[in-house]
């Protein structure tokens, strides 16, 4: 399976290439007032409204401000409906609506088997981390989009 890799801060992350619709230059993000800052805001993708996720905040947490931001890149994801049949057969899933991941830099495509990814180390408690893998001496983290989204959904305690 091929993975699209990208940098968020200094860290390398990956998602299955089949989930990626396109990589693009960032366009204006319209923030959502009073909302979870991990949701960067809404964007206008050629007439479609999509939700942009601020990966720096979502994946780096409190460290996001400490590390300087580079040029951003938009990773536009397929929706569950637009995923190819092969992708679905491989057990991949995306989100019902179009999502845009705001990363710092997009790296290349890495070929790997799912089993080459080791389970996340014990101290990593985030549910959206599917596994870790060493690529050129560097640690790469595999992300699960559905679980990331789930993490970002407003929870009952939060709603007033």
């Amino acid at each position: 399976m091929e993975y699209a890799t990208f940098l968020v801060g200094e860290d390398l992350f990956a998602i299955p290439v089949a989930l990626v619709q396109e990589i693009g230059k960032p366009v204006e993000i319209f923030p959502i007032p009073g909302h979870d800052p991990r949701v960067a805001g809404l964007v206008n993708l050629r007439g479609r409204t999509a939700v942009a996720l601020d990966l720096r905040r979502a994946l780096l947490g409190n460290l996001a401000d400490a590390i300087p931001r580079r040029r951003s890149k938009f990773i536009v994801l397929e929706t569950t409906d637009t995923l190819s049949t092969e992708a679905r057969e491989m057990g991949l899933d995306s989100h019902r609506e179009t999502l845009v991941l705001v990363a710092d830099e997009v790296q290349g495509i890495v070929d790997g088997q799912k089993m080459e990814f080791h389970p996340p180390p014990a101290h990593v408690s985030e549910r959206y981390v599917e596994g870790v893998m060493k690529v050129n001496e560097r640690l790469m983290t595999l992300i699960s989009i559905p679980r990331l989204v789930e993490d970002l959904m407003p929870h009952k305690e939060d709603v007033p």
């Binding site: 204006e28 993000i29 319209f30 923030p31 959502i32 007032p33 009073g34 909302h35 979870d36 800052p37 991990r38 949701v39 960067a40 805001g41 809404l42 964007v43 206008n44 050629r46 007439g47 479609r48 409204t49 939700v51 601020d54 905040r57 947490g61 409190n62 996001a64 401000d65 989100h95 019902r96 609506e97 989204v149 970002l152 959904m153 407003p154 939060d158 709603v159 007033p160």
Partner: protein, 914 residues
């Protein structure tokens, strides 16, 4: 069964169901007016079922249909009369057929011998009476292969007159061709009138809606840059039409749901032995089909409830002095951003005290507690599970599981329900559907675009009452704190005030003592989550001193209540395509959806109900507290009052009261003549007298004996007094003014009151005629190209003012009936008008609100706005200018209106009228 046959069978079931349902609907109408086409349709529906059943070997279904068809055949030929028992039988038959179609075995195992028997009996009874007549020619079956009865031999008809006329039996065959070939004609009719339907999945339609939404958004972004491109214009028009049609696939008119209840009411009322009628209003209103479906069960319960519990029996009603026939009314209407569905009955109403007793009996409260409940709280208990005031559980609806389920189901749809009731008079159950539920994804609404901080948001225009620009003075004097909440004094009302930042859960900025702005630090939800908000607290805003900015207050209404929201700026109004809010925004009640504005900005749409919730506005208590604190003031008078006087005996005239400065008596001794003119002394000056007979075709008044009356119009450049005979009194003008008599000669119109014909005088025309040197309208000639938008709700004044303008050659006058229509028209055509002339008191949106909206919209702010009103007095004029009017004139003062128009257009700088 193979796939192909299954598909055919499915098709048969769907089609038969549709035909039978349609036929049933018509059956109900049949009772009122037997209509041959209905009978034909019913026949065809059953006939089709019979025919197809044979193909699929559905013997039970086919058998029942066959007898039904035979019966229908006789009915439509008139052999069997249409009576209520017959309609009942036919209804039962179609019900049974429909029921069979719903079963897996398509009714094969159904027991229908009883029904068949009844049908046969009716058929035979009809046949028996029919054989007595000579009209026994129509064949029973519909097949064209039946032998056609003999046509009379041509020899007979061409024989000399001595031959007796042909026997009556064959003649009808010649002159009535239809019954002899019913199948042929039926087939032709069927082909011509059968509704074409196809089945399509909901997902396909939803995708269509998404796509059309994108197309419209894309088009909207091109409107400005492609303004002059004719190809684009054509494309744009097609897109608009396409959009409307696609929306309609998901929307359905409420009437289709309401109509089903005719049957319900009829059957139920018969069953209970009551006389009840149903009335349906607002059926044209459209809703999303899924919402409509969701309303079906609750409405059914409410309707049955009204018939069973609400309405009394005929005897009870007549004893109570009510009309014997009770009414259940179903209504759908649009109101302040909500759609209301109402079920009203004129029955007994809810007995509050009886409910109070039941509450205690059911153990839901103690007697002491129950005693403190007010009417609304008691009614709320009706929706409590397990509550029912019926002692005997009836089959109909007294089970006590009804109302709470209704409420829960409605809440699941995002709707709410309220009850208003009057003991002895009836009850109204009101379901309110918020706009966001009723709207279909990709529908277009009018939105007011506002800004707060760097954020742009849209507010559904239909919830907006008005926009108020607050000056520093306003902030000091009109904002107060009551019970810890900020409120705003809006004319005669006091409304709660809300900061949009609070609703959105973002920090407010305020002016710190050293002049710089700072953010309010508050412990709130955002703090609990990771990190700080991303970017909208931009540097520029932080540096602004809030005190210096003009604050804008948007007055919104939610159901019957008003509240105000403070925003930073108004961007304008736009037609926006509503998109569902993204899933990641679930739980933010304040957002109803999102849209993309013409300039590409993604803007969230605010939900009024959500705003009310986030601001914790509780209107019920609030109104009590506020009215106690502030005290109420009454609304200004809207009526146009006239003085009625007689001239010569029997001729009545009227002049608007607010155009007169004095009314007093005079005697002939005071009159001085100079030539043919007459004068009296008033306030140290000679005032000429105006006699009506000199200008109008009326009987002359003899003032030589005794005293007479003079009426002095106000604000005249050259004072004149009008002679009158006797003052009869004053009255309020109604809508019933006949303007056919209106002409240049001095009469604006006529009307009747208490059997008397009264002529309404146009003072200024009279003056122009009597004193042309002093009174003439020196309006510039190029005023004629001026384009006027007039907002006036009363027909008479609308006609009058339009006539003012037309009589001076102004051709382009568009009249609308309230402020909302005016702002909509301006929204669609912002450069189409040179001046707006508006009444103050209008329904839906009044003149103050209209001018506020015009002056806040950058596209429209430069258009001069003239207020035309019946309200006189300094205070009103002041209020008018404060609201933003450029000029303020009295409706019936034509001269001034035209001069004012002139002035406004001149000051605009060149009257191009382009």
């Amino acid at each position: 069964m193979d796939a192909e046959t299954k598909e055919l069978l499915d098709g048969f079931v769907v089609e038969s169901r549709e035909n039978l349902e349609l036929a049933q609907k018509k059956l109900l109408a049949l009772e009122e007016s037997p209509d041959p086409e209905t009978l034909n349709e019913l026949f065809r529906a059953i006939h089709t079922v019979k025919g197809a059943s044979g193909f699929f070997q559905l013997t039970t279904l086919g058998g029942l249909a066959h007898i039904g068809e035979s019966l229908m055949s006789k009915v439509r030929e008139g052999e069997i009369p249409v009576t209520p028992p017959l309609v009942d039988l036919l209804l039962k038959t179609t019900d049974t057929l429909l029921g069979m179609l719903d079963r897996d075995d398509l009714g094969q195992g159904e027991e229908v011998s009883e029904l068949s028997g009844k049908l046969k009996a009716t058929l035979e009874a009809g046949a028996a009476s029919a054989t007595n007549s000579d009209e026994s020619v129509a064949p029973e079956s519909a097949l064209p292969t039946e032998p056609v009865p003999d046509i009379p031999d041509s020899d007979n008809t061409s024989a000399p007159q001595a031959t007796p006329p042909p026997p009556p039996a064959p003649a009808p065959v010649v002159s009535v061709p239809a019954p002899s070939h019913p199948a042929a004609t039926a087939a032709v009719h069927h082909a011509a009138s059968a509704p074409q339907t196809i089945r399509i999945g909901v997902e396909v339609l939803d995708q269509l809606l998404e796509l059309i939404g994108e197309v419209v958004l894309g088009r909207n972004q091109l409107i400005v840059s492609h303004r002059d491109d004719p190809i684009f214009k054509g494309l744009s028009r097609s897109i608009t039409r396409l959009h409307q049609h696609v929306i309609r696939t998901r929307m359905q008119d409420v009437g289709s749901l309401f109509e089903r209840y005719r049957r319900t009411v009829r059957d139920l009322s018969q069953q209970l032995g009551k006389k009840i009628e149903i009335s349906i209003e607002g059926g044209e209103l459209e809703l999303d089909r899924t919402v409509l479906e969701g309303l079906s069960d609750p409405l059914t319960h409410l309707v049955r409830n009204a018939v069973d519990h609400g309405l009394e029996s005929a005897e009870e009603r007549s004893l109570a002095g009510k009309q014997v026939v009770g009414t259940v009314s179903l209504r759908a209407l649009h109101e302040s951003g909500q759609i209301m569905i109402e079920v009203e009955d004129d029955g007994r109403g809810v007995d509050i005290e009886r409910v109070r007793v039941k509450i205690v009996e059911r153990g839901l409260a103690t007697t002491e507690e129950a005693a403190t409940f007010n009417e609304k709280e008691i009614i709320d208990f009706l929706f409590h599970p397990g509550f029912s005031t019926r002692d005997v559980v009836s089959d109909i609806s007294g089970r006590g599981v009804g109302m709470d389920v209704v409420k829960t189901n409605l809440e699941r749809l995002g709707c709410s329900i309220e009850v208003t009731t009057h003991l002895g008079k009836g009850s109204v159950f009101s379901i309110s559907i918020p706009l966001t539920q009723a709207m279909v994804n990709s529908s277009v609404i009018s939105g007011l675009i506002v800004g707060i901080g760097s954020c742009t948001l849209a507010i559904p225009q239909m919830a907006v009452n008005e926009v108020v620009r607050l000056s520093g003075d306003d902030r000091r004097n009109r904002i107060e704190t009551v019970h810890g909440r900020e409120v705003f004094k809006l004319r005669d009302k006091v409304i709660p005030l809300v900061h949009l930042e609070d609703i959105l859960e973002i920090p407010r900025t305020y002016a710190a003592p050293d002049g710089s702005a700072a953010l309010e630090r508050r412990e709130k939800l955002a703090d609990r989550r990771a990190g700080e908000p991303l970017s909208f607290l931009d540097e520029r805003r932080r540096k602004l001193d809030r005190r210096m900015r003009t604050e804008l207050l948007i007055v919104l209404h939610y159901k019957q209540n008003w509240f105000g929201v403070l925003v930073d700026r108004i961007v304008g109004t736009e037609e926006i395509v509503v998109r569902r809010p993204p899933e990641l925004l679930k739980g933010r009640r304040v957002f109803a959806g999102s849209t993309i504005l013409g300039n590409g900005t993604v803007s969230l749409i605010l939900d009024i109900g959500g705003m009310v919730e986030m601001a914790h506005l509780d209107f019920a208590d609030r109104s009590r507290a506020l009215s106690a604190h502030i005290g109420r003031s009454s609304l200004p008078e809207v009526e146009q009052r006239v003085v009625v006087f007689t001239y010569a005996e029997g001729e009545y005239f009227a002049i608007p009261v607010n155009l007169l400065s004095e009314v007093d008596r005079c005697s002939i001794d005071e009159v001085r003549k100079v030539g043919s003119r007459e004068f009296i002394q008033r306030h140290g000056a000679s005032v000429p007298l105006l006699r009506l007979e000199k200008l109008l075709n009326v009987t002359p008044l003899d003032i030589s004996h005794g005293s007479f009356v003079v009426l002095t119009p106000s604000r005249l450049s050259y004072p004149t007094a009008i002679v009158a005979g006797k003052i009869e009194g004053t009255l309020v003008l109604g809508e019933d003014i006949n303007t056919k008599e209106a002409n240049e000669k001095g009469v604006m119109g006529t009307f009747f009151r208490d059997g008397r014909l009264i002529s309404l005088i146009d003072i200024y025309s009279l003056l122009q005629k009597s004193d042309p040197d002093h009174y003439h309208c020196d309006v510039q000639a190029d005023l004629q190209n001026c384009r006027i938008l007039l907002a006036e709700d009363q027909l008479f004044f609308r006609q009058l003012v339009v006539q003012y303008f037309r009589s001076h050659g102004i051709r382009s006058v568009k009249a609308v009936v309230n402020g909302r229509e005016a702002i909509d028209e301006l929204g669609q055509n912002p450069t189409g008008y040179d001046v707006v002339v508006s009444d103050i008191e209008m329904p839906v949106m009044n003149g103050y609100q209209l001018v506020s909206m015009i002056k806040s919209d950058p596209r429209l702010a430069k258009i001069p706005v003239m207020a035309l009103t019946s309200l006189e007095g300094e205070a009103n004029v002041q209020k008018g200018f404060e609201a933003g009017f450029d000029a303020y004139e009295i409706k019936l003062d034509k001269d001034k209106v035209l001069r004012c128009l002139d002035r406004l257009l001149a000051s605009k700088g060149g009257r191009k009228g382009l």
